[in-house]
């Protein structure tokens, strides 16, 4: 119980830190703390494999992508214009959204049959973390992934394929129209003759 509250405070504090920082690099640090805390939560909830996935995929891959894009964008110039705070303009719609969504949430939590726990929904047995084939272990997760949940697993391949093609199409080298990031576009290769003439004439 104490562990829950300590982790919850770290989780919320790092989330607020993430969205309140001026520089995106500090936001990435906050997000990293947030993800590591979530991994700790997953382990306490018997989902040890998901804890590992959280660290490897989120902290290892997705945050690295963010860091690389920040490094790419902020070289030399500041791409983010200073401007008036958005808070006064969006306060009313934001408050309305929060009130409506929170109302639905409270209604759902109050009317959900939490106490009546049917025994037949249990897919596996509970056991101490680190044991083979108990709930949340790699064996338990893998068997479910490759037998009963095989179709959703196959669909993730399509999702990733679409993402790969989309990234190549959107951010590929073929830049049409006027471009300000000309230093990002590959320069045309010189032929051997051109290089030779440059060496001889000095320009």
């Amino acid at each position: 119980m104490i562990l829950f509250y300590v982790l919850a405070i770290v989780l919320i504090a790092s989330a607020i830190f993430t969205i309140s920082q001026k520089s995106p690099v500090y936001s990435v640090i906050g997000l990293l703390t947030n993800f590591l805390t979530l991994a700790a939560f997953y382990v306490t909830l018997n989902a040890e494999f998901l804890g590992v996935i959280q660290i490897v995929v989120y902290s290892g891959a997705i945050l690295m992508l963010f860091v690389f894009v920040i490094a790419l964008l902020s070289s030399g110039i500041g791409p983010f214009s200073e401007g008036p705070d958005r808070l006064p303009r969006v306060l009313a719609p934001a408050l309305a959204t929060v009130v409506v969504a929170f109302g639905f949430l409270i209604y759902g939590v109050l009317h959900a049959p939490m106490s009546a726990l049917p025994a037949h929904v249990m897919s596996s047995t509970l056991g101490p973390p680190g044991t083979a084939n108990v709930f949340g272990s790699v064996g338990d997760f893998g068997v479910a992934l490759f037998t009963t949940q095989l179709l959703p697993f196959e669909m993730t391949a399509f999702v990733l394929l679409v993402a790969v093609i989309g990234v190549v199409v959107i951010a590929g080298d073929a830049v049409v129209g006027p471009t300000h990031g000309a230093h990002l576009v590959r320069r045309k290769r010189r032929t051997a003759k051109e290089r030779e003439s440059i060496v001889k004439t000095g320009r």
């Binding site: 919320i12 990435v28 997000l31 494999f49 995929v57 934001a94 969504a101 300000h180």
Partner: protein
């Protein structure tokens, strides 16, 4: 499960609304994308908590799918940011309004 599932749901809701606030209030597209990641992870926390409460690993599978979608979404979102930056130097979400019509 020594902590009741409603505590996890409350924590997940708080984290989700911090993400919503980030998307609405910030103008930097990178931080908006990070706030979207926060919301996805809040949903993941709720899924894992319910999965544990019912001792059913369908929620774990769902979290796995959400992580995949989040990775794809982050990759495409960042590619859009890079493409916009190449064309106009300014990637502020209020300034990039070419599709407004």
């Amino acid at each position: 499960m020594d902590v009741d599932v409603s505590n996890y749901i409350a924590l997940s809701a708080v984290m989700f609304f911090i993400g919503v606030a980030g998307v609405i209030l910030r103008r930097n597209p990178l931080i908006v994308l990070m706030a979207i990641e926060l919301m996805l992870n809040a949903a993941n926390l709720a899924l894992v908590a319910f999965s544990r409460a019912w001792v059913n690993n369908a929620g774990h599978i769902f979290v796995f799918l959400v992580v995949t979608v989040a990775a794809a979404e982050a990759a495409i979102g960042l590619a859009i940011v890079v493409a916009v930056f190449r064309r106009s130097k300014n990637v502020d979400v209020d300034e990039v309004a070419r599709l407004r019509g």
